[in-house]
Symmetry: C2
């Protein structure tokens, strides 16, 4: 189809942008957990990410099923609490994801007009 | 609900992560267009982002309806071609988006355990 651009094929496909992590709400959840290695209580996480109970629960389920997050039930001041934190696998995959994110930012900062389609536009 | 954390409320909500731009395929499309100010031909864009005709068309429609991308019909070597490029509004909103992306990367790089929930876990 296109000529002489084989080397750039998929240049902006960003395969490493794992959709489990990339979804906006989950990206907030994972980033906040990554900055709190000891874990975060459900209610604190909810507030930090401005999510509803239902939304946070749903995303935590997806993240635990993907093996990125672990959820612990416990007590604090005799009240039941839920503690959420990243798994080792979650930390690793988030670092991989962030590396791709950095490359997106780098790409966005370096415009290169190697392709200038000289078109006769039919306006 | 939570006590004394008002200032951090929504800290990881990342409201600026505009979902029109954030979706993985569209992020690739917009980043590649941002690096090619002259615009890209449909087929080149398709290859750079590893998308099918149908997928690229669908995402371009969403992006044009949002006012971020403009699509031009024209001819090159007597063959009909489609040229895609960012609008001024698209460039502006992408820069805003990238600024938020940079803050996500910065957040991910600076773990701060200001919240250490000392739980009595019921293992």
């Amino acid at each position: 189809m296109t000529k002489g651009k084989k080397s750039n094929s998929g240049r902006y496909a960003y395969e490493g942008l794992d959709r489990v992590i990339h979804e906006k709400a989950r990206l907030g959840i994972i980033t906040s957990l990554s900055t709190h290695p000891e874990g975060l209580l459900f209610n604190d996480l909810k507030e930090l990410c401005t999510l509803t109970d239902g939304n946070l629960s749903r995303h935590l389920q997806i993240l635990t099923e993907a093996g990125l997050v672990e959820v612990w039930k416990g007590f604090k001041n005799n009240r039941p609490q839920t503690l959420c934190r990243l798994t080792t696998e979650g930390k690793r995959r988030f670092l991989d994801y962030v590396a791709v994110l950095e490359s997106v930012v780098a790409d966005a900062m370096t415009p290169v007009a190697e392709t200038s389609p000289k078109l006769g536009l039919s306006t």
